[in-house]
Symmetry: C2
Subunit: 150 residues, 2 copies
């Protein structure tokens, strides 16, 4: 479904690229989410557990930064994870403004079980690209991602 927009060649190219990029991302992540690999975790909950698992305990602001989500959002996601006993929150005794978040045993066990399955699902999703194509896609996306505001 290319754009119907009547614009310059540059505009049409950029728009079509944007549409394919967006649809590629959205359809891929939708398939991953629907694959059942995450069990009853939401994508956000998985993201938080995965960050804590691989990077270790950190405060909420750091989680917010890593996942590119607002602090208010992280507060809610952590509330839900805490209710289920998957993470623990502790006020930092050094600086009582901050809350240090860490995985509980249950949280660590769960993410240790789910993460490899998610990796397998991602490998399968990307298997339609050769290793060279994956490398290339990564490089192009990196250029789009890092752009500090010009």
């Amino acid at each position: 479904m290319p754009t119907h927009y009547q614009g310059s060649a540059q505009e049409v190219l950029a728009l079509n690229t944007f549409i394919k990029f967006t649809r590629g991302y959205e359809s891929m992540t939708a398939r991953l989410a629907q694959s059942g690999v995450l069990g009853d975790l939401t994508v956000s909950q998985f993201g938080v557990l995965e960050a804590l698992y691989h990077l270790g305990s950190m405060c909420q602001g750091e989680i917010s930064g890593k996942l590119l989500k607002s602090c208010g959002n992280i507060t809610l996601v952590l509330d839900n994870l805490e209710k289920r006993g998957l993470v623990r929150r502790e006020r930092d005794p050094e600086d009582r403004r901050m809350v240090t978040v860490s995985l509980t045993q249950a949280g660590e066990a769960l993410i240790a079980q789910i993460f490899p399955r998610q990796v397998a699902a991602i490998v399968a999703e990307l298997s339609c690209l050769t290793p060279e194509e994956q490398e290339l896609l990564g490089k192009l996306c990196k250029k789009l991602g890092v752009r500090s505001s010009i």
Copy 2:
């Protein structure tokens, strides 16, 4: 921030590609949303207006399909657009299960004003890639998008 996962070369490549892809998409769309180009429209509302603008009136199920969103979601987004007088809903007299959605004059005027600005913002976002790179990115993303479940 590459993956910290200790896996096979294939797994590490796929994961790193996935991370760059995700971050490229999320940081780019976050910048577009924050650019102010959309005024007080949300991204979803813009998506609906844009589809109606370029593809013409259609029923809710079609909108849902084009935007890859659930029908329940589209119902809500349309409620909000309808409150603002930007779209009109009419039961299809041929098949009264369906609701045909069309732009009002106000809706058409608004999207006609906003769309070119959004195009300009997208062109600017993609300007860090050469036309050849954009072409290539589009091709790679298309492979990821169209994959019917293997």
